[in-house]
Symmetry: C2
Subunit: 82 residues, 2 copies
Amino acid sequence: MPTIVVDVMPKAELLDPQGKAVTGTLSRLGHGAFTEVRIGKRFELTVEGEVTEELLAQARQVADEILSNSVIEDVVGIEVAE
Amino acid sequence: MPTIVVDVMPKAELLDPQGKAVTGTLSRLGHGAFTEVRIGKRFELTVEGEVTEELLAQARQVADEILSNSVIEDVVGIEVAE
């Protein structure tokens, strides 16, 4: 079954406290090579049958209006997997 | 600056209550075309300089041991962006 993957990340200009905490932890554990960590969400939407243009448009709308909060988050990717 | 993207999803055999709730909401809002929603995490690890093979191996280790909980989650993707 095809899956539409939607990636949502906190906006670049906003602090990401969860990511900051992980950055600090990695640094303390000797993984300072990773200078910044930001944490977002990955949604996998399963679709029955074919992924049509209309369905992709619907997924885009759902991503913008329901899956993400446009005040603090950006939809950074929508792609079809499988 | 290059970014290593790590995708973590709840294991397929486990319930994902958050995803189930979103599936129900989408269905009620007329988006029943999306029959299942699963919600995972997307980590963006920023790296200074080049992404070497060693750094990628280190990212894989960090993804497996720190960023994901292997009891309930799978690392489904590690890739270099930009």
